[in-house]
């Protein structure tokens, strides 16, 4: 079926089976490889993107369910020349190890700050509990979020 999406602010259209997970549309049809395949079952969070500003697991979301809606991926959270403040914090705190889960971690963290500008440590841990990191970068993730929590404005 023909699907229209706004991805990172750009209108995109694809013609594809309606049950194709959004993840594979983003990665293989639109060529945005920053969003990762981890489990295919909404269990690990590596594929997290924003649907109209809210995190979803793209590996388990059929593309037909998001027809006509707005998707933001890791490639879309920074400005054209500037990093999202969380991305800068990730670099400053040396968060990524293997790095494979970090796009999903960042998308979840960015959403957290969008509704709670100054989360407590417990609120951060709870919000981030759906994103697995096999390298165990969790404490650096929390420290990076805390370093920008409460600062003004989005990048």
């Amino acid at each position: 079926m023909a699907i229209s999406l706004t991805v990172n602010g750009q209108k995109r259209s694809v013609d594809i089976e309606s049950d194709t997970p959004l993840l594979w549309v983003i990665r293989d049809e639109l060529g945005l490889k920053g969003t990762k395949f981890g489990c295919g079952a909404a269990l690990c969070g590596a594929c997290t993107v924003h649907l109209n500003g809210t995190p979803i697991r793209s590996c388990s979301t059929p593309v037909s369910a998001v027809d006509g809606q707005e998707i933001t991926t890791i490639e879309g959270i920074s400005g054209s020349t500037t990093l999202h403040k969380l991305q800068q914090a990730w670099v400053d705190h040396g968060v990524p190890q293997c790095g494979y889960c970090q796009s999903g971690q960042l998308m979840t963290a960015a959403h957290l700050l969008s509704y709670n500008a100054a989360p407590t440590e417990d609120e951060i841990k709870t919000a981030m509990s759906g994103n697995i990191c096999r390298c165990g970068t969790y404490s650096n993730i929390v420290a990076a979020i805390q370093s920008v929590a409460g600062s003004e404005g989005e990048a």
Partner: protein
């Protein structure tokens, strides 16, 4: 002054650990060696290329899977070359003999060897290039090289104001003699080594631009999935692809070595069509083991065969005879999966006479063997392009995913990307072996007088040599591969290194006990196994450090003081033990309902002690704090050391709380993260890491954080409940 062949050979031969300038040996006589007239670039050695526009390229021979080689090894070469690491551009190495890991004799990243084996050769390579650049500048200025200084990519004139950039010097530097013995920068003058300067790959990994194997895209690429037998060792009896072949996008279905491959134009179409594929399996030779049958087999083997005596000191028989008390315990540990976040995958392109592979692999030279086995190509007709790895933990030392992709590409003549599902990744892993440990100690008074440890289970090279042996003899014809594999097995300790995978961490028992024996009963239930982060240390540390805790309690001693008293002759063990105890507040009052456990273990040359503080809340184990002390010799990047130890702690605690692969009639029951769980952010303890300042030879940190944390947690739970747990995973 021109560089001659003899100079290069001298350098290649005169430095240990694999510094080879063989790339330069191909240059024609009369031309500046290593210098390209066409590009104006200077290939100083196997690792460094400097361009006239001041770019520095470093070829990284150890893969980056999270452990930090990308930053750490670049720091080593940058320090001596005199260029800030962040200005160096990193390339992943192709397969080449100059990139072989000298500790393993294969081009392999594992065993926490990267810093230890690169420490000297990379610094020598950087220093050598630096001295040649300085020599060139000194010649231009007609001054003494000794009076020139190097400062972040340029050589400064003795007058302090003039400077020449490296790019301006490369053509002349290429004509300088390779120094015999380049001077390494003394420790007190290091600018980059030992400093926390961030991770060089952090930006790419925070913006989604780092390329992993799964991200490789080739024009006209198709996708493959493979249906593998649910029971290891089963083979395809027949398959019916009639329905699958009629589904959208499906291009081909055919049998391969491991099962049935299905190829489609899109990944999701391949996955959907795979469900319509019907495969019947021959199961005569298939695994039928269950967890219970494996342990029963181990117990029977242990009863029948006391095993090879791997270490013997004093008179253990006499110790037991004269003991006032004998304490015995058995420990059982399960199979564990690797669960890398990036599932197994590889992309293959067959050119008719060559095969190109793009893959996240820990052993590209073994990847060549995997391709050679399934095609008519020889290993040197296979190019392996290594990407970033979304986790490795030992899983990607085995090249089955490359073999599968190559087999499919060889057949379909199109670029093929093969991706495993998470379920396939969990069920068709090669596991950390399940193991049985039988421990026995003799006690007289409050002294431990004898230590007996019988390790029961398989060893990993039995499963690994088949592919590793041919990779060590890449010139060998393929019909010899199986012979080489068999010879490698038979020649263990001679032709291949002694396989210490079952006994490491047990045979080096560090405590001062007069009579001891460590035995290995070698028995293999046929379940596929491979290296798993910290390998044998992962199960031996649990057995040794838990039994030590039992003995402390049996003799009425504090578990920390008990270890301390028996480690007086082991200063590095003692230092980390004492530091961890101090950091973890050993002996100080605890919040109600909490207890501490302690363990110390040396693995891969690195000493780690940990104090775990835990409680049981709402029927679940809660880990509050882990205090760690580590001695890994000189530290290249303290942040990375701390992060790796913490990473190991999370990895070990995940195994301690959840790790268990369940076999039923040869089938693995777990499939995805709901039944093979990982520790998550809200369950994480606070981890503190103290680094012991050291001038010893540097050792690795990728794995040593794992082994002690599992017994330390178990020991804390014993302190809390009085109930000793001798099987893993631990329960509340």
């Amino acid at each position: 002054m021109s560089m001659n062949r003899r100079d290069f050979l001298k350098v290649a031969a005169g430095t240990s650990g694999g510094l080879m300038l063989s790339l330069n040996l191909t240059a024609c006589a009369g031309t500046p060696t290593g210098y390209s007239e066409e590009t104006g670039s200077w290939t100083a050695d196997a690792w460094l290329e400097l361009t006239p526009d001041n770019q520095v390229f470093f070829t990284l021979a150890r893969v980056e899977m999270g452990q930090g080689t990308y930053t750490g090894l670049t720091t080593l070469i940058g320090e001596e070359l005199g260029v800030a690491p962040e200005r160096i551009q990193v390339r992943f190495a192709p397969v080449g003999k100059e990139y072989i890991n000298p500790a393993i004799k294969l081009q392999m990243t594992g065993g926490s060897t990267s810093v230890a084996t690169s420490w000297q050769p990379l610094r020598v390579a950087g220093a050598s290039a630096r001295e040649m650049l300085v020599g060139a500048a000194a010649r231009i200025w007609a001054v003494s090289a000794a009076d020139c200084k190097v400062d972040d990519g340029q050589v400064r004139h003795p007058n302090g104001s003039d400077a020449l950039k490296f790019g301006q010097l490369v053509e002349l530097a290429a004509k300088e003699s390779v120094p015999d013995d380049p001077a390494l920068t003394p420790r007190d003058q290091w600018k980059y080594i030992g400093k926390s300067r961030g991770r060089l790959d952090a930006l790419a990994k925070s913006t989604g631009t780092a390329e992993y194997g799964i991200d490789v895209e080739l024009p006209g690429m198709v996708y493959a999935v493979v249906t593998r037998p649910p029971r290891y060792g089963a083979t395809v009896a027949s398959f019916d692809a009639s329905e699958a072949l009629g589904m959208p996008g499906v291009l081909d279905v055919f049998e391969i070595d491991r099962g049935v491959a299905l190829v489609a134009d899109k990944y999701w179409r391949a996955r959907k069509a795979q469900r319509a594929l019907k495969v019947e399996w021959n199961t005569e030779d298939a695994l039928s083991a269950s967890n219970a049958s494996v342990m029963a087999f181990y117990r029977k083997s242990a009863d029948e065969d006391p095993g090879v005596n791997e270490r013997e000191e004093g008179d253990i028989g006499e110790a037991f005879e004269s003991a006032s008390r004998v304490v015995e315990a058995s420990y059982e540990q399960p199979y564990l999966a690797h669960a890398t976040m990036e599932p197994m995958n590889a992309t293959a392109l067959y050119h008719g006479d060559r095969m190109e592979i793009w893959a996240p692999t820990q052993a590209p030279d073994l990847g060549r063997i995997a391709v050679a086995r399934v095609t008519d190509l020889s290993p040197d007709e296979v190019d392996i392009h290594t990407t970033f790895l979304g986790g490795g933990f030992g899983r990607r030392l085995t090249q089955d995913f490359i073999g599968e992709a190559a087999e499919v590409a060889y057949k379909v003549n199109k670029p093929v990307k093969l991706i495993w599902s998470r379920e396939e990744d969990t069920r068709h892993d090669l596991y950390r072996p399940a193991m049985l440990h039988r421990m026995k100690a003799s006690i007289s008074g409050d002294q431990v007088t004898g230590w007996h440890h019988q390790i029961v289970g398989p060893q990993i090279l039995d499963w690994y040599v088949r592919n590793a042996a041919p990779a060590q003899y890449p010139w060998a014809p393929k019909f010899l591969y199986d012979t080489l594999g068999k010879a490698g097995l038979m020649g263990e300790g001679l032709m291949t290194p002694k396989d210490t995978s079952a006994i490491e961490g047990a045979v080096e028992y560090p405590y001062q006990v007069a009579n001891l024996e460590v035995r290995h009963t070698h028995c293999d239930p046929g379940v596929p196994i491979t290296w798993w982060r910290s390998v044998g240390y992962s199960h031996n540390a649990f057995a040794v450090e838990t039994f030590m805790d039992e003995l402390a309690h049996e003799t009425g001693q504090d578990p920390f003081e008990f270890r301390r008293n028996l480690l007086q002759h082991e200063p590095r063990h003692l230092a980390v033990l004492e530091r961890a105890a101090e950091l973890g507040g050993w002996g100080t009052p605890l919040a109600e309902g909490r207890a501490r456990g302690i363990a110390v273990h040396r693995s891969f040359g690195t000493y780690v002690a940990q104090v775990v503080e835990a409680s049981i809340e709402n029927g679940a184990i809660r880990i509050h704090r882990v205090a760690c002390a580590v001695d890994c010799g000189p530290v290249v990047n303290p942040d990375i050391v701390r992060d790796q130890i913490e990473s190991g702690v999370i990895f070990g605690l995940t195994a301690a709380l959840y790790g268990n692969i369940t076999l039923e009639n040869g089938e693995v029951k777990e499939s995805n993260f709901h039944d093979y769980q990982m520790l998550r952010n809200h369950q994480r303890p606070d981890v503190e890491v103290a680094i012991i300042d050291s001038n010893e030879a540097p050792t690795g940190v990728g794995e040593p954080g794992v082994p002690p944390v599992i017994p330390a947690l178990g020991n804390a739970l014993f302190a809390l409940t009085g109930k000793r747990q001798r099987t893993l995973p631990l329960t509340a």
